[in-house]
Amino acid sequence: MKLLALIAVLMTGALLLYGTIDMPDWGDPHSPASIHVSPRYIEKTMEETAVPNVVTSVLADYRGYDTLGETVVIFTAAMACILLIRRPRK
C-alpha cells in the first residue's frame, strides 16, 4: 500500500516537473503575468483611490465583490461547525 502510494507520488512529481520547462524564469520582469493587468493597477491606484497600498486597493476596491464572496465562505464554515458539533441540552 505504501509502495503504491510512493510510486504514484513520484510519477505525479515527475509530470509536474516536466511541465515547468515552459514556465517563465524566477524573477523575470517580462513574464506574461506581470505585463497584462497589474501595471494598470499599480499606475492608476493613487489617482483613482487615495490608498498607497496596492494589495488593499485591489482586494477591496477593484475586486471588492470577490472579497464579499470570501467573507460569506468563512461565515459558512463557522455555521457548519456550529451545526455539526453543538448538541442542544434538553
Partner: protein
C-alpha cells in the same frame, strides 16, 4: 479532555500581554492603507488574543467575557456592515459597491470617498474574521458540551 495546567508564570504574562495584543490588532486593521495589513490579518490577531486567554486560563474565563450568543451575532454583524455599505452605494445612484457615490452624504470628494469606503468594509471583515476564529475554537475545544447551548 485537555489536561489543564495552572502555571503562575504563564497566567501573569498572559494577563499583562493580552491588552497589548488587542491594541496591535486594531492598529493593523486601521493602518491597512499605508502598510501591510487590512481586515483579515487584524481580525486573526484579535481572535488569537481570545484563544490565548482560553489556553492560559480556563475556557469559562473566555466565555464569561464573550458568550456564544454574542459571538454568533458578531459573525453576522460584519457581513451586514459589508453589504450594507454596498446597498447604501446602490441607493445613492451608482453600482453596487461603487464607493465614489458615498461622496454625496459624506463631505469629501469622490476619490477620498473610495478610501473611506475601503476602511468601512475592512472593519466589517475584521469583525467577522475575529468572531469566526473564536467560534470555531470554542466548538472544537469543548466538543459541544456547553452549559448554556443555543435554544
Amino acid at each position: 479532555m485537555i489536561a489543564h495546567l495552572e502555571d503562575i508564570i504563564i497566567q501573569t504574562v498572559c494577563r499583562i500581554l493580552i491588552p497589548f495584543i488587542q491594541v496591535y490588532g486594531l492598529y493593523v486593521i486601521a493602518h491597512g492603507h499605508h502598510s501591510p495589513g487590512g481586515g483579515f490579518q487584524g481580525g486573526v490577531i484579535l481572535g488569537a488574543s481570545f484563544i490565548l486567554l482560553c489556553v492560559a486560563y480556563d475556557i469559562n474565563e473566555a466565555k464569561r467575557r464573550l458568550n456564544e450568543k454574542l459571538d454568533t451575532m458578531f459573525c453576522s454583524l460584519g457581513l451586514i456592515i459589508y453589504s450594507g455599505i454596498g446597498f447604501v452605494c446602490l441607493v445613492l445612484g451608482g453600482n453596487y459597491l461603487n464607493y465614489s457615490r458615498l461622496g454625496h452624504i459624506l463631505p469629501v470628494d469622490p476619490v477620498n470617498a473610495r478610501s473611506l469606503g475601503i476602511l468601512g468594509i475592512e472593519i466589517g471583515v475584521g469583525i467577522t474574521v475575529m468572531a469566526v476564529m473564536i467560534s470555531i475554537f470554542l466548538d472544537l475545544a469543548s466538543r459541544g458540551k456547553h452549559e448554556e447551548g443555543l435554544e
